[in-house]
């Protein structure tokens, strides 16, 4: 009991020391007066020297960001409740651009748009760097081509729409088609890199989702040990539109911290259609002219400038050091060779990709993974439509064995789908057609993958080799998944060094294929008995 008693002297002493540290100097603040407040937007008279994107502060501590600079007033969006803000309230400039404090301390944390932790674990610790929310993307000189793979752990993605470090790959589809799952599985799959000491830091930005959905996503990430290298930024549906609009920029700013200090990072924007809606709301209240679907004219610029910040930084240190638009906090800390990969998500309505926002983001990104409800309901998960999913730069990023094995896979599957549609109504078919269809069906089965079970790239190569080489022709479609399990088990037990480790290192030769063929033949024999 005696230990629990608070010693008054101790507390006073602590407080006294804390009070000493508080600055008491007063200076002239530039102020303005609120003329109008409503729907999260304030119009302020005064603040004649305010800059765009500057942070403003009200007397009660609520912050706002300048968005409109007009001749006689300043329009700002509130980053908090407007309950205590009235006409006539004073607001002052902070002389700071809207920014986020980023650092390693954020890993494993859940924060909101202004950087306040919302996971109940107290303050963010460690050294933090001020990163501006709005920043120019690195120029052409400071980039290098995408040539290193980012393994998602999904057979269908890594083989047919591969993603490279620094790429922007869109995940698009209707609601409930597994868009978030692909992103979450990709994050979970980075665990191996983290353990190997070469982490790809992940940033998951949840925009306009339900609080419960975010909580369960965080729980999933925790369960699979992915929170160790992940930051979650949540701007829930109940937060002001401005918070939802800025959340992806916060994700990008944190990602840039890792990118510019020579590390690899992955940022998932879940999802940008909700951000666009939030931006539309803010813009309409600010009385900016609206265009198609009532989105403001700069909605394309909104997404393009956000996604341009995904980049692979040149590894030449002396060039990287002079990167454009570096924030002062990072001066002297820049390292080359880092990257920021972006996985934006877009939700379509009834599969309509020709709506405004989907077409915009499709054209901005380096490819898209298209998910379909029909495929999802047929049990093909991930429900990727192979025909219209592409990766424009990822091909260069695949490891050699994967490139060899999956080279014809996409074409084969597209051909199969065409033939399958033709032969749906029965009728005789020739041997070649029957074989193509049989192979396609089995490949389709091979590409199915359960939720949250990412597969290492060497295992993917081994499995897909069996599919593309037609080694499964003697077993029925129903036994494909059983084959996969047994085949991988045998490889893992008997041929780890001779096959799997070598595949991982990019080796692919006759010796390896001979073993793969033999193991496959043995497994097929076992399954036939």
């Amino acid at each position: 009991m005696s230990n629990n008693v608070i010693k008054t002297s101790e507390v006073s002493e602590v407080l006294r020391m804390q009070l000493e540290g508080i600055s008491t100097d007063i200076k002239f603040d530039e102020t303005g007066v609120v003329m109008q407040v409503g729907d999260g937007v304030v119009r302020i008279y005064g603040l004649h020297n305010a800059e765009a994107n500057e942070l403003l502060r009200f007397d009660n501590g609520v912050e706002a960001i300048v968005m409109n600079l007009e001749e006689d007033n300043v329009g700002a969006v509130l980053l908090g409740s407007s309950a205590e803000i009235r006409e006539g309230s004073t607001v002052k400039r902070t002389n700071r651009m809207a920014s986020i404090m980023a650092g390693e301390g954020l890993l494993g944390r859940v924060i909101n748009t202004v950087g306040t932790p919302i996971d109940g674990k107290g303050k963010v610790t460690g050294e933090l760097f001020e990163m501006p929310l709005e920043r120019k993307a690195p120029g052409v000189v400071f980039r290098q081509p995408v040539d290193t793979p980012l393994q998602t752990g999904l057979k269908a993605v890594d083989s047919m729409t591969p993603i490279g470090l620094g790429q922007r790959e869109l995940i698009i589809g209707d609601r409930q088609t597994g868009k978030t799952s692909i992103a979450i599985d990709t994050i979970i799959n980075q665990r191996a890199n983290f353990e190997a000491g070469n982490p790809i830091y992940c940033i998951y930005v949840a925009v306009g989702q339900k609080g419960s959905t975010v909580a369960s996503t965080v729980q999933t990430l925790k369960e699979y040990g992915a929170m160790d290298y992940t930051v979650v930024i949540a701007a829930n549906g109940s937060d002001p539109a401005a918070m939802q609009y800025y959340a992806p920029f916060v994700g990008a700013a944190i990602g840039e911290y890792f990118r510019d200090t020579g590390r690899n990072a992955l940022v998932v924007y879940d999802d940008l259609s909700k951000q666009a809606v939030a931006y539309r709301e803010v813009s309409l209240i600010l009385r900016r002219p609206s265009g198609r679907e009532a989105y403001p004219g700069d909605i394309f610029y909104l997404h393009s400038r956000l996604l341009e910040r995904a980049a692979r930084i040149i590894s030449q240190q002396e060039v990287a050091e002079h990167m454009n638009d570096l924030p002062p906090s990072l001066k002297g800390k820049v390292k080359g060779g880092g990257s920021l990969t972006a996985l934006p998500l877009i939700e379509t309505q009834a599969g309509d990709v020709s709506a405004y926002i989907p077409t915009n983001v499709i054209s901005i990104t380096d490819g898209q993974i298209f998910l379909e409800t029909d495929l999802f309901n047929q049990g093909k998960r991930p429900a990727i439509n192979v025909g219209i999913s592409v990766s424009r730069v990822g091909g260069n990023a695949q490891i050699k064995p994967m490139k060899k094995v999956s080279g014809t896979l996409k074409m084969d599957q597209a051909q199969y789908q065409e033939l399958a549609a033709f032969t749906k109504f029965g009728g005789d078919m020739d041997k070649v057609t029957a074989m193509t269809i049989d192979k396609g069906k089995k490949n389709e089965q091979l590409l199915i993958q359960p939720l949250h079970q990412p597969m290492s790239v060497e295992k993917q190569v081994a499995v897909l080799y069996c599919g593309t080489e037609g080694l499964l022709r003697d077993i029925p479609v129903g036994k494909v998944s059983e084959f996969e399990k047994q085949f991988l088990f045998t490889l893992d037990v008997n041929h780890k060094e001779t096959v799997l480790d070598r595949l991982k290192n990019g080796e692919f030769n006759d010796e390896i294929t001979a073993i793969l063929r033999k193991v496959a033949a043995d497994t097929v024999k076992q399954l036939q008995n």
Partner: protein
């Protein structure tokens, strides 16, 4: 839409017209009173937006709020606003006009807020210090606001010197909260 231009244009026009007629000081006083009314009686602003009120009634309201029939220029200006349907911009125009007038005549507006009524001498001394420092005329008003607890707040134009006890307490509270979070 950059509607900010509108109020500046009307305010400039009003100032030029008033100067031409030599009524600028009268108009300035009227505008000052009017903008004070906007802050003090929020329902006044709402009434101007009310479509049920006829333009004549609105004009009467505005004239009353700005101290009666002060000058012909002001009277005509209100007619113009009503005719052009820009009466909802009146508050912005009033503020812009004051800024333009003060700029032209090198006038600084200052407000001293204290928790209790201060001595006249303190007030006069402060006024002369500001006038000396800035080299212009100072138009100073005094306000008493017990909620600032102690100290004073001095507002000069857009700039504010907040030496009130309330704001210092608030700052200490925020910083302690941050340290002990």
């Amino acid at each position: 839409m950059n509607t900010g231009l509108i109020s500046t244009r009307y305010a400039t026009a009003l100032l030029d017209y008033a100067i031409e007629r030599g009524e600028q000081d009268k108009v300035y006083e009227a505008v000052k009173m009017l903008s004070q009314m906007f802050w003090e009686v929020p329902r006044f602003g709402e009434a101007l937006h009310n479509p049920i009120l006829s333009p004549a009634e609105k004009k009467k309201l505005i004239l009353t709020a700005s101290g009666g029939e002060v000058s012909e220029a002001w009277d005509r200006f209100i007619d113009l606003l009503l005719e052009n349907n820009r009466i909802e911009k009146l508050h912005y125009i009033a503020l812009r006009f004051q800024d333009l007038y003060r700029d032209k005549n090198h006038i600084l507006s200052a407000t001293l807020t204290t928790a209790v009524d201060t001595d006249k001498s303190v007030y006069e001394r402060l006024k002369s210090i500001i006038a000396k420092q800035t080299g212009g005329t100072v138009e100073m008003t005094q306000a008493v606001d017990p909620s600032i607890v102690g100290g004073f707040i001095l507002q000069i134009g857009d700039n504010r010197w907040d030496a009130s006890v309330a704001s210092q307490l608030r700052r200490i509270k925020n910083e302690l909260k941050e340290i002990n979070n």
